[in-house]
């Protein structure tokens, strides 16, 4: 099957999913699918710097928090226009990435992991100290966000909005990694010294990738707040950052759509296993270890290998 047809079918299935859920009398799945789409955006954005830039960030959940608090703070002041929330999140997420990136990108490898983690923790404790916006307990959003005439508290509407953002970011991401910029980013992942000797100021490329990645993840944070009508520091816990890294690795690093696959599979696994036993984390851990051993290139690599064998 040609690639374009495959993508068209997948997109049609994604768009029509709420109707299928209705027919099956399982409206709950729309909310679950929205959650998958949101985390897919976050994982996709992380894959840009992790997979293509070779920069392992353990602080990416900070951007989820920035997006969520952009929605939360505006809503608590009576501003419910989603475009205002989104614009704020893009600006704040981009600025946070710019400032922290300028510092973090002076390092690489383990030091980069530590610094991104540290910045995310700083933001976490900042949110805890924001007593006016719920502090530790978080902030419940009483008013639904609105996108023009659309009410984002409607499950289906929010689902379609999330899918639209996901498709937009996937298209932008694919364009970006195939561009000159993307080529330089990937070259620097592989051989920094050669890239500098060729005359590339690779720190600038990495910083820009980091900013773009942070902006996309901030939108995921907005959508998360729209969905849960609740904002709390827990959105940017370092465990959440780790979960995003696992999604990217599980799906297949440096492929973009692998990140979407990884987000979906991890969330489905969590859901299914949690329904089976309260010791589900043990089983999930075993599955992840097995994946790391047999499929170094993630599910994407596994699928590609199976296709090649046939």
């Amino acid at each position: 099957m040609p690639r374009a047809a495959l993508w068209a079918i997948l997109l049609a299935m994604a768009v029509l999913l709420p109707f299928a859920a209705d027919l099956a009398g399982q409206g709950y799945y729309v909310g679950f699918a929205t959650r998958v789409a949101i985390f897919a955006i976050a994982a996709l954005s992380l894959d840009l710097i992790l997979g293509y830039g070779g920069l392992v960030s353990l602080g990416h959940a900070a951007f989820l928090g920035i997006g969520a608090y952009s929605v939360g703070i505006w809503t608590s002041h009576g501003v419910t226009a989603a475009p205002v929330h989104w614009a704020t999140a893009l600006a704040a997420g981009g600025l946070f990435a710019l400032v922290t990136g300028l510092i973090a990108l002076r390092t690489a490898g383990v030091a980069f992991i530590m610094i991104t983690l540290a910045f995310a923790q700083m933001l976490f404790f900042l949110a805890v100290s924001l007593k006016a916006y719920g502090g530790d307990d978080g902030l419940t959003l009483w008013d639904a966000a609105r996108l023009g005439p659309l009410d984002l508290s409607d499950d289906r509407t929010l689902y379609w909005v999330a899918i639209a953002w996901l498709v937009l970011f996937l298209l932008l991401g694919r364009h970006l990694v195939a561009s000159r910029f993307g080529l330089v980013l990937q070259g620097a992942r592989s051989n920094e010294r050669r890239m500098r000797a060729l005359g590339f100021d690779i720190r600038r490329h990495r910083l820009l990738a980091y900013v773009l990645s942070g902006m996309a993840a901030s939108i995921a944070g907005c959508l998360l707040a729209h969905m849960t009508d609740f904002v709390s520091p827990a959105y940017m816990s370092w465990q959440r950052s780790g979960e995003l890294v696992v999604m990217v690795l599980l799906g297949g690093i440096g492929t973009l759509h692998g990140a979407i696959l990884g987000a979906a599979v991890l969330l489905i696994l969590e859901e299914v296993l949690a329904g089976l036993t309260q010791h589900w984390m043990l089983i999930l851990g075993a599955i992840l270890v097995a994946m790391a051993l047999v499929a170094r290139r993630g599910l994407h690599g596994l699928l590609a290998a199976l296709r090649g064998r046939r």
Binding site: L176, A178, S179, R180, F181, G182, L183, V184, Q186, G187, S190, N191, R193, R194, M195, R196, A197, L198, G199, F200, D201, I202, R204, H205, L208
Partner: protein, 253 residues
């Protein structure tokens, strides 16, 4: 003739070790200036200082009338200083063609190029294919660079260094470690580079293969323990007693 590159009183220390000790050095336009010396003489450290990968503790480096002592490596590359490393430095997980495209991009592209395709751009592709043809790698453009034979990787690296029509080439042992066939091909390639009309880059050649050095060099600088112990035309270097002593010490080990 004004030198293309002139180095004055260059010093680099690593702890108590003085790796480069008050080195004076010049390269004239179109000249091949070889640097030889026993292991640990400071040749690679010296080259790293010229490329901007390490900062000198003292001294000045002037290139084409500009003081570049404080410039980082990427900025020196943009001024026209290209580099091939001792340990071959290509992008191993990119195909050969993509490596060459990257090198051409470095020479033509400014800005980020987020809106511009890379591997479908005829300007980049044509330039890249011309480069590969020049070093004889045209037939291997779709192989992964990391899968090439060692000698072919060296040729690819040299092609990448040539993409920006550099005014100065810094070559760190381009011949060492290659087989006799590959080594002859590399010497021929270097000859063709220095004779190419209109380009004639200055070349700093650090090399252990003395046969190649004597075949290529216009001048030879001999280093030992971080210091320059001789600098002259090849014939006089061959006869120099101090040089013999330095190499005899090396051979005796």
């Amino acid at each position: 003739m004004t030198p293309l590159l002139s180095v004055r009183g260059l010093v680099r220390r690593y702890g108590a070790l003085v790796a480069v000790d008050h080195v004076e050095f010049t390269v004239l336009p179109g000249e091949v200036h070889a640097v030889i010396g026993p292991n640990g003489a400071g040749k690679s450290s010296f080259l790293a200082l010229l490329a901007g990968e390490a900062r000198p503790d003292a001294g000045e480096i002037e290139f084409a009338g500009t003081n570049i002592t404080r410039l980082p490596a990427f900025a020196r590359a943009r001024l026209g200083i290209a580099r091939a490393f001792q340990i071959t430095a290509v992008i191993p997980d990119f195909p050969v063609l993509q490596n060459a495209v990257l090198a051409v991009l470095a020479s033509v592209g400014r800005g980020f190029g987020m809106g511009r395709a890379a591997m479908h751009d005829p300007v980049l592709l044509d330039g890249a294919r011309r480069l590969l043809a020049r070093v004889g790698l045209a037939a291997q453009e779709s192989r992964l660079a990391g899968d090439l034979a060692h000698g072919a990787q060296r040729q690819l690296e040299l092609a990448m260094a040539l993409a920006g029509r550099p005014r100065l080439l810094l070559l760190d042992e381009p011949i060492a470690g290659t087989g006799p066939e590959e080594s002859r091909a590399m010497v021929a390639l270097l000859q063709s580079i220095r004779q190419a009309p209109g380009e004639r880059p200055g070349i700093v050649l650090v090399e252990h293969d003395l046969e190649a050095v004597f075949a290529l060099a216009d001048r030879i600088t001999v280093m030992a323990e971080g210091r320059v112990i001789a600098c002259d035309v090849p014939d006089r270097i061959r006869a120099d007693a101090a040089v013999r002593a330095a190499y005899l010490g090396d051979d005796a080990r």
